[in-house]
Amino acid sequence: MAAIADTSGEVLRAEEGSLYPALYRMEEAGWIRAEWIKKDTGRRARIYELTAAGKKQLGAEESRWQSVSLAINRVLREA
């Protein structure tokens, strides 16, 4: 979340906690998978990684976003 905020120059801000419902939704959709690991601090943590379906979905979403934003940009420039 901090990374998102930093990269976007504080334009995109969200509650950190809202990450989790999003993660769970993606997990239910089968785009990411999760497992519990034990950290060296002794605490349990859940780590997520992209599945093959997730990578495909990411690619699809990315290209869709590209085309949409491109289209919007073009429309804005025309105007």
């Binding site: 906690g17 809202s18 989790y20 997990e27 239910e28 089968g30």
Partner: protein, 889 residues
Amino acid sequence: MSLWSRISNAVRGERLNREIAEELQSHIEEAIASGRDPDEARRAFGSILRQREASHTIRVAGWLESLLADVSFGWRQLCRNKITSAAAVLSLAIGIGSCVAAFRLIDALLWRPLPISGSSKLYVLSRQMTGLYGKPIEDGYWATPNFKLMRDAVKDQADLIAISDAERMDITWSGDRAGNDDIEKAHVVYVSGNMFPLFGLEPALGRLLIPADDRGPGAGPYAVLSWDYWNHRFGRDPNVLGHSLHIGDQTLEIIGVAPSDFTGTEKGTVTDIFLPLSMNSMATEDRADWHRIFLMLKTGVNPATALEPMRQHLSAVNRAFGSACSTCYRGDTKADIERFLNQKLVFHPAGAGISELQKDYRRLLGVLGLMVALVLLIACVNVANMMTAQAAARAQEMALRISIGAGRRRLVQLILSQSALLALLASVLGAIFAAWSAPFVLSLINPRDNPARLDLPADWRVLLFGFGLILLVVLLLGLLPALRASAVRPVAALKGGEDPHSPRRLMRGAIALQVAFCFLVLFLSSLFVASFQRLENRPLGFSTDRLLLLEAVAGQRQLPVVWNQTAEALRAAPGVNSVAISGWPLLGRIRINSDVSIIGAPPSPTPAWFLNVSPGWLSTMKIPLVSGRDFRPEDTSPGAAIVNETFAETFFPGQDPIGHTFERGANQPINKILAVIPDVPYDDLREPNRAVFYVPFDEIDGKSTPKAVDFATFTIHTDAQDPLALAGSLRQLIAQRHNGLRVSNITTQLDLVRDQTIRERLLAMLAGFFAVVALFLAGIGLYAVLNYSVLQRRREIGIRMAIGSTRTSIVHLVTLDVLPIVALGGCAGGALGFGAARYVASLFYQVKATDTDMIALPTGAILLTALIATLPAVLRALRTDPTEILRNG
């Protein structure tokens, strides 16, 4: 993974919550550990509770979770009222179990298609005609030559198949297999050679009969065993092929075994042996109508358009065959012949097989189905009432749930899940009950030595019916209370109750319904029980005490003298009181009629029935003489006869028949009447008395030579109470004489009489059982409703008592509440009962729906039950303590 994980998460909801909480917590702790300010980290994270809720709903199948919660809540509700819940489950279980058992029987006997290919294209051919006494009859049996003509006539569009009914025949096995020559019984069916191929059946072993086996008389001395017979008689020994069996003087070789699920086309009987049609000596006779004709449409032939032309074509062939029969109508008038030839052919769908059992038990099973459905409805009404009362008691809880935001759908689900729990518990018990009761009822059909046999599989048909039934029950039970509960207006309910009468109105309607159903069940069962009692107590006119019947056969016919000598030997055996011979036993389901003509006149329009009996048969049967004398050894047939009173009245009205003569048809020898005896039932207890004449067992032909006899029955009066005790030794005695006679069946006269009332006994027993259950359930229902209403009106009653109401008026208050309801229900039930009785009148014996005692009995029973059910409520009302009510409210 997704749906499954959400379902499994729903089951472990608490653990999931902990897991999510742990993950969120670890996120924050990680942030703090990485050096961020704890407060800032928490603020940036947002509300933990909200995120957790949001996460939870994503990861869980919400509908399932709420359902589980409702089910466990419903379970706790049921556990809170253990006794009522147990009663509800038990009564529903009896209802559901009986319904499923009845369905299994009805389906197996009447609906289930035969395990053959093309069962939907199979029809059976029968003819409607005018029978004796001008009664319309439908006959399904045909002569083989006629069958062959008809088969050829429609061969382009359909195949005709001839199949005889199963006959219990005496067979013997030869060779090392059986080891001995003991005679045994087997169900033998004669089939045309095209049956197995057309039905698409594959042999379990060897080969099946083919058209070539059925070419002509004696051309195919082959037998196919049914799988069932192969299994229980030969233990599935594959070496059975090639062995031979004997029927009469025929020897037949076993060539194969039929597939395991095919037991023949006659539902209720399992065929043991299939033989080619042409192996039966009747197959060449024009006059012997002995087998059924099935019609299998060829592929692509549309029954809607093809059947009617085919029927007309077959009618023409049949009529031509009938007219061409030269020997059929000796001495008949032209009108008689025309009446006989005037036959209307009809097709009936026969995909579910065809049998006499179906005909005899269709109505009975219909009644049974009606009664079990009514009992289930009564049980449902009871339980629905119970749930309505509970729902009314929970009106405040419901109102509270609605006020804090529960959807109505959720409330309906809450109550339906409780009724589903009840129904599921009940269906488990019901399934056990059905698994036991259906075979039990089946075992009561038919005589003990020849029980009805039906496949009663618990397959998808039964399961589907069961699930449908459970669904229906759940809806019946739960829907009304659920809708009521969800219609609660929270404001009114929370204030202290809205209309207090509304649940009672509903429950009283239910009581009326219950009483109506109960009256219907009681009414029908009293009719059936009375029918059975009257049939059972019908005066017989002969004694059944200590009468052993040995039905004997002679493979090669034997002269009467051989039979008489055997009777003499039996007479000398210890423990034997007297012995006589008759052609067949009374009430043995055999009847043979004969024309009667008086002094050369044409035969009378009504025939008479006859029986050959030896001298002394009348005294052995304890049939008294009205006048005249018994046969003597020198009397022969034709020559002498004894007639019953109906015969005398029919053929010699107003005269003393003794000394008169009659002939058995035109131009036949005369018989002189020696005596008159009272009417005794001849072949059927239910039939009115027939005109019967008895002729001597010793028969002679035109040249006074004695005629050989191939079967007869020794009637033996024993000293011992149980006549069957002697059966073994007497059978041995006959076998040891080696005179060609063999005992083929052993029974007693008492058993023959009992076998006559099997259907009535079964119906009376079942109807009685369901009547008791219905009455009991209705009583409980009435009691519960009254009790509830008194509890509800406690305050009103208290106040009435306080202001001086007498005890009588309190009793009135409580009872007048229900009496009109009971009366209304009773009347409705009576109306239904008259309607139903018309449909089943053929099952009654000498009772009518309009008999006073038939109406009085159920009325009395219901009134008595109502009285008993009302009593506790009345007492509770009377015990109301006004001071306590007024003090505590």
